[in-house]
Symmetry: C2
Subunit: 200 residues, 2 copies
DNA sequence: AAACCGATTGACTGGTCAGTCAGCCAGCGA
DNA sequence: TCGCTGGCTGACTGACCAGTCAATCGGTTT
Protein backbone atom coordinates (compact mmCIF):
# COMPACT_ATOMS: atom_id res chain seq x y z
CA UNK A 1 0.00 0.00 0.00
CA UNK A 2 2.70 2.49 0.98
CA UNK A 3 0.11 5.21 1.32
CA UNK A 4 2.46 8.13 2.03
CA UNK A 5 4.70 7.94 -1.02
CA UNK A 6 3.64 10.99 -3.09
CA UNK A 7 4.35 13.88 -0.65
CA UNK A 8 8.00 12.93 -0.15
CA UNK A 9 8.40 12.48 -3.88
CA UNK A 10 7.35 15.95 -4.95
CA UNK A 11 9.25 17.66 -2.17
CA UNK A 12 12.45 15.93 -3.19
CA UNK A 13 11.68 16.71 -6.82
CA UNK A 14 11.51 20.40 -5.96
CA UNK A 15 14.78 20.31 -4.01
CA UNK A 16 16.58 18.56 -6.85
CA UNK A 17 15.21 21.01 -9.37
CA UNK A 18 16.32 23.89 -7.13
CA UNK A 19 19.88 22.54 -7.05
CA UNK A 20 19.99 22.50 -10.84
CA UNK A 21 18.48 25.94 -11.29
CA UNK A 22 20.47 27.61 -8.50
CA UNK A 23 23.67 26.12 -9.91
CA UNK A 24 22.81 27.32 -13.40
CA UNK A 25 21.54 30.84 -12.71
CA UNK A 26 22.50 31.63 -9.14
CA UNK A 27 20.03 32.11 -6.32
CA UNK A 28 19.24 35.77 -6.92
CA UNK A 29 18.36 35.42 -10.55
CA UNK A 30 16.19 32.36 -10.24
CA UNK A 31 12.50 33.00 -9.91
CA UNK A 32 10.38 30.61 -7.90
CA UNK A 33 8.61 29.87 -11.17
CA UNK A 34 11.93 28.62 -12.59
CA UNK A 35 12.15 26.06 -9.82
CA UNK A 36 8.55 24.97 -10.33
CA UNK A 37 9.03 24.67 -14.09
CA UNK A 38 12.25 22.70 -13.71
CA UNK A 39 10.51 20.35 -11.26
CA UNK A 40 7.50 19.99 -13.56
CA UNK A 41 5.23 21.18 -10.79
CA UNK A 42 2.80 24.04 -10.23
CA UNK A 43 4.09 27.32 -8.85
CA UNK A 44 2.04 27.13 -5.69
CA UNK A 45 3.32 23.69 -4.73
CA UNK A 46 6.69 25.13 -3.89
CA UNK A 47 4.94 27.14 -1.18
CA UNK A 48 3.07 24.08 -0.03
CA UNK A 49 6.34 22.42 0.92
CA UNK A 50 8.51 25.42 1.76
CA UNK A 51 7.81 28.62 3.64
CA UNK A 52 9.79 30.72 1.21
CA UNK A 53 12.37 30.68 -1.56
CA UNK A 54 15.04 31.22 1.08
CA UNK A 55 13.95 28.14 2.96
CA UNK A 56 14.65 25.97 -0.07
CA UNK A 57 18.26 27.11 -0.11
CA UNK A 58 18.56 26.86 3.66
CA UNK A 59 17.43 23.26 3.54
CA UNK A 60 19.86 22.38 0.76
CA UNK A 61 22.71 23.92 2.68
CA UNK A 62 21.93 22.55 6.13
CA UNK A 63 21.36 19.00 4.96
CA UNK A 64 24.70 18.84 3.18
CA UNK A 65 26.71 20.85 5.68
CA UNK A 66 25.67 18.67 8.58
CA UNK A 67 27.02 15.66 6.69
CA UNK A 68 30.29 17.49 6.37
CA UNK A 69 30.40 18.42 10.04
CA UNK A 70 29.62 14.85 11.04
CA UNK A 71 32.33 13.54 8.75
CA UNK A 72 34.93 15.92 10.17
CA UNK A 73 34.05 15.17 13.77
CA UNK A 74 33.90 11.47 13.05
CA UNK A 75 37.33 11.59 11.46
CA UNK A 76 38.71 13.43 14.45
CA UNK A 77 37.36 10.83 16.84
CA UNK A 78 38.96 7.97 14.94
CA UNK A 79 42.36 8.88 16.27
CA UNK A 80 44.66 8.62 13.28
CA UNK A 81 47.65 10.94 12.96
CA UNK A 82 46.85 14.66 12.74
CA UNK A 83 48.13 14.71 9.20
CA UNK A 84 45.89 11.79 8.23
CA UNK A 85 42.96 13.61 9.79
CA UNK A 86 43.56 16.70 7.71
CA UNK A 87 43.93 14.51 4.66
CA UNK A 88 40.56 12.91 5.42
CA UNK A 89 38.90 16.30 5.83
CA UNK A 90 40.30 17.60 2.55
CA UNK A 91 39.32 14.34 0.91
CA UNK A 92 35.77 14.53 2.12
CA UNK A 93 35.27 18.06 0.86
CA UNK A 94 36.82 17.26 -2.51
CA UNK A 95 34.72 14.10 -2.79
CA UNK A 96 31.59 16.05 -1.99
CA UNK A 97 32.33 18.13 -5.04
CA UNK A 98 33.20 15.15 -7.17
CA UNK A 99 30.00 13.39 -6.16
CA UNK A 100 27.60 16.32 -6.65
CA UNK A 101 29.26 19.35 -8.21
CA UNK A 102 26.03 21.25 -8.67
CA UNK A 103 25.04 21.02 -5.01
CA UNK A 104 28.52 21.99 -3.84
CA UNK A 105 28.53 24.90 -6.25
CA UNK A 106 25.30 26.18 -4.74
CA UNK A 107 26.55 25.70 -1.19
CA UNK A 108 29.84 27.46 -1.75
CA UNK A 109 28.73 30.22 -4.05
CA UNK A 110 25.40 31.06 -2.41
CA UNK A 111 26.10 30.36 1.25
CA UNK A 112 29.69 29.82 2.28
CA UNK A 113 31.04 32.69 0.19
CA UNK A 114 27.96 34.85 0.43
CA UNK A 115 28.79 36.05 3.88
CA UNK A 116 26.52 39.07 3.58
CA UNK A 117 23.34 37.14 2.85
CA UNK A 118 23.01 33.44 3.60
CA UNK A 119 26.46 33.15 5.05
CA UNK A 120 25.27 35.34 7.93
CA UNK A 121 22.31 33.08 8.60
CA UNK A 122 24.49 30.00 8.71
CA UNK A 123 27.56 31.55 10.29
CA UNK A 124 27.35 29.33 13.37
CA UNK A 125 27.26 26.14 11.30
CA UNK A 126 30.11 27.31 9.09
CA UNK A 127 32.17 28.32 12.09
CA UNK A 128 31.75 24.87 13.55
CA UNK A 129 33.69 23.47 10.61
CA UNK A 130 36.52 25.96 11.17
CA UNK A 131 36.55 25.09 14.85
CA UNK A 132 36.72 21.35 14.24
CA UNK A 133 39.67 21.80 11.92
CA UNK A 134 41.36 24.11 14.42
CA UNK A 135 40.89 21.44 17.07
CA UNK A 136 42.65 18.85 14.93
CA UNK A 137 45.55 21.25 14.50
CA UNK A 138 45.68 22.15 18.19
CA UNK A 139 45.69 18.47 19.19
CA UNK A 140 48.47 17.86 16.68
CA UNK A 141 50.45 20.61 18.34
CA UNK A 142 49.91 19.21 21.84
CA UNK A 143 51.05 15.82 20.62
CA UNK A 144 54.19 17.37 19.13
CA UNK A 145 53.27 16.38 15.60
CA UNK A 146 52.90 20.03 14.56
CA UNK A 147 55.01 22.91 15.71
CA UNK A 148 53.37 24.98 18.38
CA UNK A 149 54.23 28.54 17.38
CA UNK A 150 51.32 28.98 14.96
CA UNK A 151 47.78 29.90 15.90
CA UNK A 152 45.52 26.91 15.11
CA UNK A 153 42.72 29.26 14.11
CA UNK A 154 44.90 30.84 11.45
CA UNK A 155 45.91 27.44 10.16
CA UNK A 156 42.33 26.27 10.04
CA UNK A 157 41.23 29.32 8.05
CA UNK A 158 44.12 29.00 5.62
CA UNK A 159 43.52 25.31 5.15
CA UNK A 160 39.82 25.68 4.53
CA UNK A 161 40.35 28.77 2.39
CA UNK A 162 42.83 26.95 0.18
CA UNK A 163 40.43 24.06 -0.39
CA UNK A 164 37.50 26.31 -1.08
CA UNK A 165 39.49 28.34 -3.55
CA UNK A 166 40.41 25.18 -5.44
CA UNK A 167 36.75 24.17 -5.55
CA UNK A 168 35.90 27.64 -6.82
CA UNK A 169 38.52 27.23 -9.49
CA UNK A 170 36.85 24.04 -10.65
CA UNK A 171 33.39 25.49 -10.38
CA UNK A 172 34.22 28.45 -12.58
CA UNK A 173 36.57 26.53 -14.83
CA UNK A 174 39.56 28.61 -13.94
CA UNK A 175 41.53 25.40 -13.41
CA UNK A 176 40.98 21.98 -15.00
CA UNK A 177 38.88 19.43 -13.11
CA UNK A 178 39.63 15.78 -13.76
CA UNK A 179 39.78 12.88 -11.32
CA UNK A 180 43.55 13.21 -11.31
CA UNK A 181 43.27 16.88 -10.45
CA UNK A 182 40.96 16.11 -7.54
CA UNK A 183 43.39 13.62 -6.04
CA UNK A 184 46.34 15.90 -6.64
CA UNK A 185 44.57 18.81 -5.04
CA UNK A 186 43.87 16.88 -1.88
CA UNK A 187 47.47 15.83 -1.42
CA UNK A 188 48.76 19.23 -2.40
CA UNK A 189 46.81 21.15 0.18
CA UNK A 190 47.67 18.74 2.94
CA UNK A 191 51.29 18.42 1.91
CA UNK A 192 51.71 22.17 1.71
CA UNK A 193 50.06 22.91 5.00
CA UNK A 194 51.66 20.01 6.86
CA UNK A 195 55.16 20.37 5.52
CA UNK A 196 54.96 23.94 6.71
CA UNK A 197 53.53 22.81 10.02
CA UNK A 198 55.62 19.86 10.99
CA UNK A 199 58.69 20.49 13.11
CA UNK A 200 61.86 20.57 11.06
CA UNK B 1 41.46 79.47 -11.07
CA UNK B 2 41.06 75.70 -11.04
CA UNK B 3 37.77 75.95 -12.89
CA UNK B 4 37.01 72.20 -12.99
CA UNK B 5 36.93 71.41 -9.28
CA UNK B 6 33.20 70.69 -8.61
CA UNK B 7 32.54 67.78 -11.03
CA UNK B 8 35.41 65.67 -9.70
CA UNK B 9 34.36 66.46 -6.14
CA UNK B 10 30.81 65.13 -6.29
CA UNK B 11 31.77 62.06 -8.25
CA UNK B 12 34.34 61.12 -5.63
CA UNK B 13 31.82 61.88 -2.91
CA UNK B 14 29.40 59.39 -4.46
CA UNK B 15 32.06 56.70 -4.78
CA UNK B 16 33.13 57.14 -1.15
CA UNK B 17 29.54 57.01 0.01
CA UNK B 18 29.00 53.86 -2.03
CA UNK B 19 31.94 52.16 -0.33
CA UNK B 20 30.44 52.88 3.07
CA UNK B 21 26.93 51.79 2.17
CA UNK B 22 27.97 48.68 0.23
CA UNK B 23 30.20 47.66 3.14
CA UNK B 24 27.39 48.19 5.61
CA UNK B 25 24.44 46.64 3.78
CA UNK B 26 25.89 44.70 0.88
CA UNK B 27 25.38 45.57 -2.78
CA UNK B 28 22.04 43.84 -3.29
CA UNK B 29 20.26 45.46 -0.39
CA UNK B 30 21.46 48.98 -0.97
CA UNK B 31 19.11 51.14 -2.97
CA UNK B 32 20.54 53.84 -5.17
CA UNK B 33 18.74 56.29 -2.91
CA UNK B 34 20.86 55.02 0.00
CA UNK B 35 24.01 55.97 -1.87
CA UNK B 36 22.63 59.38 -2.76
CA UNK B 37 21.53 60.02 0.84
CA UNK B 38 24.87 58.92 2.26
CA UNK B 39 26.65 61.20 -0.20
CA UNK B 40 24.33 64.10 0.61
CA UNK B 41 23.40 64.39 -3.03
CA UNK B 42 20.26 64.14 -5.13
CA UNK B 43 19.14 60.74 -6.41
CA UNK B 44 19.49 61.72 -10.04
CA UNK B 45 23.08 62.85 -9.67
CA UNK B 46 24.23 59.28 -9.25
CA UNK B 47 22.94 58.70 -12.79
CA UNK B 48 24.62 61.84 -13.99
CA UNK B 49 28.01 60.38 -13.14
CA UNK B 50 27.37 56.66 -13.53
CA UNK B 51 25.46 54.68 -16.12
CA UNK B 52 23.97 52.34 -13.52
CA UNK B 53 24.25 51.08 -9.96
CA UNK B 54 26.42 48.26 -11.28
CA UNK B 55 28.85 50.71 -12.79
CA UNK B 56 29.53 52.25 -9.40
CA UNK B 57 30.67 48.90 -8.03
CA UNK B 58 32.60 48.09 -11.19
CA UNK B 59 34.55 51.31 -10.87
CA UNK B 60 35.33 50.70 -7.20
CA UNK B 61 36.58 47.24 -7.98
CA UNK B 62 38.60 48.00 -11.07
CA UNK B 63 40.37 51.00 -9.60
CA UNK B 64 41.54 49.07 -6.55
CA UNK B 65 42.24 45.78 -8.31
CA UNK B 66 44.47 47.38 -10.89
CA UNK B 67 46.59 48.79 -8.05
CA UNK B 68 46.90 45.28 -6.71
CA UNK B 69 47.85 43.85 -10.10
CA UNK B 70 50.43 46.57 -10.63
CA UNK B 71 51.89 45.95 -7.19
CA UNK B 72 52.20 42.21 -7.81
CA UNK B 73 53.77 42.62 -11.21
CA UNK B 74 56.07 45.33 -9.90
CA UNK B 75 57.20 43.08 -7.06
CA UNK B 76 57.88 40.29 -9.49
CA UNK B 77 60.03 42.51 -11.66
CA UNK B 78 62.17 43.63 -8.72
CA UNK B 79 63.98 40.32 -8.65
CA UNK B 80 64.09 39.43 -4.98
CA UNK B 81 63.91 35.80 -3.88
CA UNK B 82 60.68 33.95 -4.74
CA UNK B 83 59.86 33.69 -1.08
CA UNK B 84 60.34 37.42 -0.59
CA UNK B 85 58.08 38.03 -3.57
CA UNK B 86 55.28 35.98 -2.10
CA UNK B 87 55.79 37.76 1.19
CA UNK B 88 55.43 41.09 -0.60
CA UNK B 89 52.23 39.98 -2.33
CA UNK B 90 50.67 38.75 0.89
CA UNK B 91 51.81 41.94 2.58
CA UNK B 92 50.25 44.14 -0.05
CA UNK B 93 46.88 42.42 0.17
CA UNK B 94 46.88 42.51 3.96
CA UNK B 95 47.92 46.16 3.93
CA UNK B 96 45.14 46.98 1.48
CA UNK B 97 42.73 45.68 4.09
CA UNK B 98 44.47 47.46 6.94
CA UNK B 99 44.43 50.71 5.01
CA UNK B 100 40.81 50.63 3.84
CA UNK B 101 38.85 47.74 5.33
CA UNK B 102 35.52 48.91 3.98
CA UNK B 103 36.69 49.02 0.38
CA UNK B 104 38.38 45.64 0.65
CA UNK B 105 35.26 44.19 2.20
CA UNK B 106 33.21 45.38 -0.74
CA UNK B 107 35.73 44.08 -3.26
CA UNK B 108 36.01 40.65 -1.70
CA UNK B 109 32.42 40.10 -0.69
CA UNK B 110 30.71 41.61 -3.71
CA UNK B 111 33.13 40.82 -6.50
CA UNK B 112 35.91 38.37 -5.81
CA UNK B 113 33.68 35.92 -3.94
CA UNK B 114 30.53 36.69 -5.90
CA UNK B 115 31.59 34.59 -8.81
CA UNK B 116 28.04 34.31 -10.15
CA UNK B 117 27.40 38.02 -10.47
CA UNK B 118 30.23 40.54 -10.53
CA UNK B 119 32.93 37.96 -10.29
CA UNK B 120 31.90 36.78 -13.77
CA UNK B 121 32.23 40.28 -15.17
CA UNK B 122 35.69 40.72 -13.73
CA UNK B 123 36.90 37.15 -14.12
CA UNK B 124 39.69 38.15 -16.48
CA UNK B 125 41.07 40.75 -14.07
CA UNK B 126 40.85 38.36 -11.13
CA UNK B 127 42.50 35.61 -13.09
CA UNK B 128 45.40 37.92 -13.89
CA UNK B 129 46.23 38.02 -10.20
CA UNK B 130 46.21 34.22 -9.97
CA UNK B 131 48.42 34.04 -13.05
CA UNK B 132 50.95 36.52 -11.69
CA UNK B 133 51.25 34.56 -8.48
CA UNK B 134 51.58 31.32 -10.42
CA UNK B 135 54.36 32.90 -12.45
CA UNK B 136 56.29 33.77 -9.30
CA UNK B 137 55.96 30.17 -8.16
CA UNK B 138 56.95 28.75 -11.55
CA UNK B 139 60.02 30.98 -11.71
CA UNK B 140 60.93 29.88 -8.20
CA UNK B 141 60.73 26.30 -9.36
CA UNK B 142 62.92 26.92 -12.41
CA UNK B 143 65.48 28.60 -10.18
CA UNK B 144 65.44 25.59 -7.85
CA UNK B 145 64.17 27.64 -4.91
CA UNK B 146 60.89 25.68 -4.88
CA UNK B 147 60.46 22.01 -5.54
CA UNK B 148 59.19 21.28 -9.01
CA UNK B 149 56.65 18.52 -8.47
CA UNK B 150 53.71 20.81 -7.64
CA UNK B 151 51.51 22.56 -10.18
CA UNK B 152 52.12 26.33 -9.83
CA UNK B 153 48.46 27.00 -10.60
CA UNK B 154 47.36 24.90 -7.62
CA UNK B 155 49.83 26.68 -5.37
CA UNK B 156 48.68 30.06 -6.57
CA UNK B 157 45.03 29.23 -5.88
CA UNK B 158 45.80 27.83 -2.44
CA UNK B 159 47.95 30.80 -1.56
CA UNK B 160 45.40 33.36 -2.65
CA UNK B 161 42.54 31.37 -1.15
CA UNK B 162 44.26 31.21 2.21
CA UNK B 163 44.81 34.96 2.27
CA UNK B 164 41.28 35.74 1.18
CA UNK B 165 39.86 33.44 3.83
CA UNK B 166 41.84 35.25 6.50
CA UNK B 167 40.55 38.59 5.24
CA UNK B 168 37.02 37.17 5.30
CA UNK B 169 37.60 36.07 8.86
CA UNK B 170 38.52 39.63 9.81
CA UNK B 171 35.70 41.13 7.82
CA UNK B 172 33.07 39.01 9.52
CA UNK B 173 34.78 39.03 12.87
CA UNK B 174 35.28 35.30 12.96
CA UNK B 175 38.89 35.89 13.98
CA UNK B 176 40.40 38.86 15.81
CA UNK B 177 41.91 41.67 13.76
CA UNK B 178 44.68 43.69 15.38
CA UNK B 179 47.90 45.01 13.85
CA UNK B 180 49.73 42.08 15.39
CA UNK B 181 47.29 39.66 13.79
CA UNK B 182 47.83 41.27 10.39
CA UNK B 183 51.59 40.86 10.59
CA UNK B 184 51.29 37.34 11.93
CA UNK B 185 48.89 36.37 9.18
CA UNK B 186 51.24 37.53 6.48
CA UNK B 187 54.17 35.54 7.81
CA UNK B 188 51.99 32.55 8.55
CA UNK B 189 50.64 32.18 5.05
CA UNK B 190 54.03 32.62 3.47
CA UNK B 191 55.79 30.42 5.99
CA UNK B 192 53.23 27.68 5.58
CA UNK B 193 53.21 27.72 1.83
CA UNK B 194 56.95 28.14 1.43
CA UNK B 195 58.05 25.65 4.04
CA UNK B 196 55.87 23.19 2.20
CA UNK B 197 57.29 24.30 -1.12
CA UNK B 198 60.97 24.56 -0.51
CA UNK B 199 63.10 21.52 -1.23
CA UNK B 200 63.97 19.60 1.91
C1' DA C 1 -22.77 7.89 -2.59
C1' DA C 2 -21.75 11.68 0.19
C1' DA C 3 -18.80 14.07 3.02
C1' DC C 4 -14.08 14.91 3.76
C1' DC C 5 -9.24 16.13 3.27
C1' DG C 6 -4.73 16.86 1.79
C1' DA C 7 -2.25 17.57 -2.48
C1' DT C 8 -2.14 20.47 -6.38
C1' DT C 9 -3.08 24.36 -9.45
C1' DG C 10 -2.04 29.07 -11.39
C1' DA C 11 -4.10 33.78 -11.73
C1' DC C 12 -3.56 37.68 -9.12
C1' DT C 13 -1.74 41.38 -5.88
C1' DG C 14 1.17 44.40 -3.36
C1' DG C 15 5.44 46.25 -2.75
C1' DT C 16 9.90 47.40 -4.25
C1' DC C 17 13.30 49.82 -6.94
C1' DA C 18 16.29 50.95 -11.01
C1' DG C 19 16.40 54.15 -14.17
C1' DT C 20 14.06 58.36 -16.66
C1' DC C 21 13.05 63.00 -17.52
C1' DA C 22 11.37 67.58 -17.37
C1' DG C 23 12.90 71.24 -15.45
C1' DC C 24 15.65 74.31 -11.85
C1' DC C 25 19.51 77.23 -10.65
C1' DA C 26 24.28 79.35 -10.44
C1' DG C 27 27.80 81.33 -12.76
C1' DC C 28 29.72 83.15 -16.98
C1' DG C 29 30.26 85.33 -21.41
C1' DA C 30 28.25 88.72 -24.47
C1' DT D 1 21.10 92.50 -18.16
C1' DC D 2 20.08 88.50 -20.56
C1' DG D 3 20.52 84.18 -22.34
C1' DC D 4 23.07 79.89 -22.10
C1' DT D 5 25.21 75.84 -20.37
C1' DG D 6 25.69 71.98 -17.52
C1' DG D 7 25.71 70.42 -12.90
C1' DC D 8 21.98 69.20 -10.21
C1' DT D 9 17.15 67.91 -8.49
C1' DG D 10 13.55 64.44 -7.10
C1' DA D 11 8.85 62.91 -8.46
C1' DC D 12 7.39 59.46 -11.35
C1' DT D 13 6.95 55.03 -14.10
C1' DG D 14 7.38 50.52 -15.76
C1' DA D 15 9.01 46.02 -14.83
C1' DC D 16 9.61 42.46 -12.04
C1' DC D 17 8.51 38.81 -8.72
C1' DA D 18 7.70 36.72 -3.99
C1' DG D 19 4.07 35.17 -1.81
C1' DT D 20 -1.34 34.51 -1.42
C1' DC D 21 -5.56 32.23 -2.03
C1' DA D 22 -9.72 30.43 -3.85
C1' DA D 23 -10.74 26.70 -6.54
C1' DT D 24 -10.04 21.86 -8.29
C1' DC D 25 -8.74 17.13 -8.11
C1' DG D 26 -8.26 12.34 -6.60
C1' DG D 27 -8.44 9.23 -3.14
C1' DT D 28 -10.28 7.58 1.49
C1' DT D 29 -13.58 7.08 5.11
C1' DT D 30 -18.31 6.51 6.79
Amino acid sequence: MASKAPPIDKRRQILDAAIRVFARQGFHSTRVSDIADEAGVAYGLVYHYFKSKDEVLNELFSARWSLLLTAIEETDREGASPRAKLEAVAGFIVDSYRHDPELMKVIIVEVTRAANSFGRTHLAEIRRAYDSIAKIVADGQSAGAFRGDIDPTFVSMSFYGAIEQLLSGWIFEVIPASDTDFDQARSLVVATICDGLEPR
